[in-house]
Assembly symmetry: C2
Homo-oligomer: 154 residues x 2
Amino acid sequence: MPSRPAAARKRPPAPDLPAEPTQAGRFEQARRVQSMALLEDYAELIADLHATGGEARPTDIARRLGVTHATAIKAITRLKREGLATARPYRGVFLTEEGERLAARVKARHLLVVEVLTAIGVPPDAAEQDAEGIEHHVSDITLQAFARFLKERK
Amino acid sequence: MPSRPAAARKRPPAPDLPAEPTQAGRFEQARRVQSMALLEDYAELIADLHATGGEARPTDIARRLGVTHATAIKAITRLKREGLATARPYRGVFLTEEGERLAARVKARHLLVVEVLTAIGVPPDAAEQDAEGIEHHVSDITLQAFARFLKERK
DNA sequence: AAAAAAGTGTAGCCTAGGCATCATATTCAT
DNA sequence: ATGAATATGATGCCTAGGCTACACTTTTTT
Ligand SMILES: [Mn+2]
Ligand SMILES: [Mn+2]
Ligand SMILES: [Mn+2]
Ligand SMILES: [Mn+2]
């Protein structure tokens, strides 16, 4: 059994280090944000399906998301549980007021993220791809900075 | 039972719409990327703990991530399974060569993302917070664009 | 050297989000 | 109008990633 240097163990509450307000807090927040990502994508997609003259049936949604309809139905169940959507069998899924608000916010954010990425020089396809994941982690403050950035650089 | 207009159902393969190469493909890729996020954060963190003169024991890792040690241990089990780390009880966790490579890539990406966000005008705290989630979705192509952007704007 | 403290690991429980499969319901085409 | 095709929803199974609780080991302190 190797001996372990006691010095390594002695680590007081990091008095001088770069402050580090709380790395743990950042990770926790990132996990909270991530837990909303799926709902956001569904809301955005359902609104889009309605907007482009169609219905948002589970099968439509599933196809657009690249999942099975069973998976989509379970997610829709969660949307309903969270008060974001309602559904009428064979008639499709409908966003509640709150769901519509979420969808609108998410869509605007998505567009802005793509705009910023392309403005920075990211090729359109990569921008669209990466935005699909990035969007969910862009806070309101960051979003405002994005808007300012686009306005100023015009 | 309300009648449903047959027209709504008639939706040919979207002949004129904005091309839309495959939204499903983008979502699938986003899900793949997300499944790596946890491993990336652990690898980055373990490397950081080692670099800053410490050990990377499950408890250290757990505290920094804001999870219980049991959760950390399960993630470490996955890291080992994926060939990214080894562990010696009461001695801590160690990255394999592959783990080190991953950690280095992830750290560089993290820094670059924060740099770009702040360059755009995002306040430091928000940049650090949002980067924790955004980083995992930044592809190599986007990363290159980020690097160019920073170089040119200097 | 014994006691206390800290760390580790295991087990059991939970939810989210995937999947395939099956039974049923609806819609469409003949 | 009826048979085929399609959509729906339920079930069961899986993995990831959280948690608490408990048992055990190691380290530190007295
Ligand atoms: Mn998305
Ligand atoms: Mn989106
Ligand atoms: Mn991260
Ligand atoms: Mn990071």
